[in-house]
Amino acid sequence: MDSITIIAMVSIITAGLTITIGVIGPSLAEGKAVATALSALAQQPDASATITRTLLVGLAMIESTAIYCFVVSMILLFANPFWNYFIDLAAGI
C-alpha cells in the first residue's frame, strides 16, 4: 500500500471510531441528567423553570463533548491536513 491509501484508511477508520466511542459517554450522561431532572420535576413542580433552565444548560455542556468528537471526525474526513499535504505534493509533481 502506498502512503495515501494508508492515510485514507486510517482517517476513515479513526473518524468512525471517534464518533462511536465519543457518543457513548455523553448519551449515558444525558440520559442520567434527564432522568434526574424528571424525578426532581415530579417532586417539585413549582421549581420547574429553574430545573428546566439548569437542565438545558447542563445538557448543552454534556452534548458539547459529543459535538467535539463530531467536529474531529468531520475534520478527519473532509479537511484532513495530512491528506491535503499529499494531494498538494501529488499536484506539484
Binding site: 448543552a60 452534548e63 463530531f70
Partner: protein, 246 residues
C-alpha cells in the same frame, strides 16, 4: 462538500476575500437593524399598537426576565449585549429556511468572534461592578493555588462556547446536505425542522451561558455578603420563632 461557509468566496481582490460568512453576517445584521428601526419608529403607549411592536416587547421582556432569573439584579444594563447575542444567533438559525442561505454561525470564524466578545465583556462587566482589584482577587478565590486553573477555565470555556455553536450549526447544515443527496423530498424537511429547533436552543444556551459567566464575574463579592446576611436572618428567625410561640 463545504465544511464551512468560509470556503464559498463571492469576491476576491488580492488577499482581501469576501466569503459567505461575512456576507450573511452583514445580511442578518442589516435585517435586525432595519427591522428594529422600522418597528421603533412609531411606538405607541396606548392599547392600539402594531403586531410588530407586540413582538418586540415580548422579546425584550422575555430576555430581560431570563437575565433576571439567572441572578443579575439590573437586567437593563446587560440587555443590549446579551439580547443582541441571542437575537443574532436565533435570527441566523431561523433564516436557514430561506434557500441559499448559509448560517454564518456555521463557520468557526463567526462563532470565535461571538465567543471572544463574551470573553472581553465578562471582565469588563466584572471590573465595572467590583473594581479592578476586586475582580483580579476573584481569580484567587478559594486559594491562591487555584489561580492558573481559573485562568485556564476562562480560556477553555471561551473555546467551548465557540466550538459548541459551530459544531451544532455545521452538523445541521451538513446532515441536510448529505440527506438531500441520499433521499430527496420528505426526510430532509424533517431534519430541517429539527435543525431549526436545535438552532433556537443553541441560541438560548449561548445566551444563558454568557449570562451565567457575567453573573459569576459580577456577583462574587456580593454573594459572600449576602450569605452572611442570609445566615444572620435565619438565626434571627429561629430566635424569634420560639418567642412568638410563647
Amino acid at each position: 462538500m463545504n465544511l464551512s461557509p468560509d470556503q464559498i468566496i463571492f469576491w476576491q481582490m488580492g488577499f482581501v476575500k469576501l466569503n459567505a460568512t461575512i456576507v450573511f453576517t452583514w445580511l442578518v445584521m442589516l435585517l435586525l437593524v432595519i427591522s428594529s428601526i422600522v418597528i421603533t419608529r412609531k411606538l405607541s403607549k396606548n392599547m392600539r399598537r402594531t403586531r410588530w411592536q407586540n413582538l418586540l416587547e415580548m422579546l425584550v421582556i422575555m430576555i430581560s426576565r431570563q437575565i433576571e432569573e439567572v441572578g443579575l439584579s439590573n437586567p437593563h444594563k446587560y440587555l443590549g449585549f446579551l439580547g443582541s447575542l441571542f437575537l443574532f444567533i436565533a435570527a441566523s438559525a431561523i433564516c436557514t429556511v430561506f434557500p441559499g442561505f448559509e448560517p454564518p454561525t456555521g463557520s468557526l470564524s463567526c462563532t470565535v468572534a461571538l465567543a471572544l466578545s463574551v470573553f472581553v465583556a465578562v471582565p469588563l462587566f466584572g471590573i465595572e461592578e467590583q473594581g479592578l482589584r476586586g475582580y483580579l482577587v476573584s481569580y484567587t478565590k478559594p486559594t491562591v493555588i487555584m489561580l492558573p486553573f481559573n485562568i485556564i477555565s476562562e480560556l477553555s470555556r471561551t473555546l467551548a462556547l465557540a466550538v459548541r455553536l459551530f459544531g451544532n450549526m455545521m452538523s445541521g447544515a451538513m446532515i441536510i446536505g448529505i440527506l438531500l443527496s441520499i433521499t430527496p423530498f420528505i426526510f430532509p424537511i424533517v431534519m430541517t425542522l429539527l435543525g431549526l429547533l436545535t438552532g433556537i436552543i443553541q441560541a438560548y444556551i449561548f445566551f444563558i451561558l454568557a449570562t451565567v459567566y457575567i453573573t459569576a464575574a459580577t456577583r462574587i463579592q456580593k454573594t459572600e455578603d449576602e450569605l452572611a446576611q442570609d445566615s444572620s436572618d435565619t438565626i434571627e428567625e429561629q430566635d424569634t420563632k420560639p418567642g412568638s410561640q410563647q
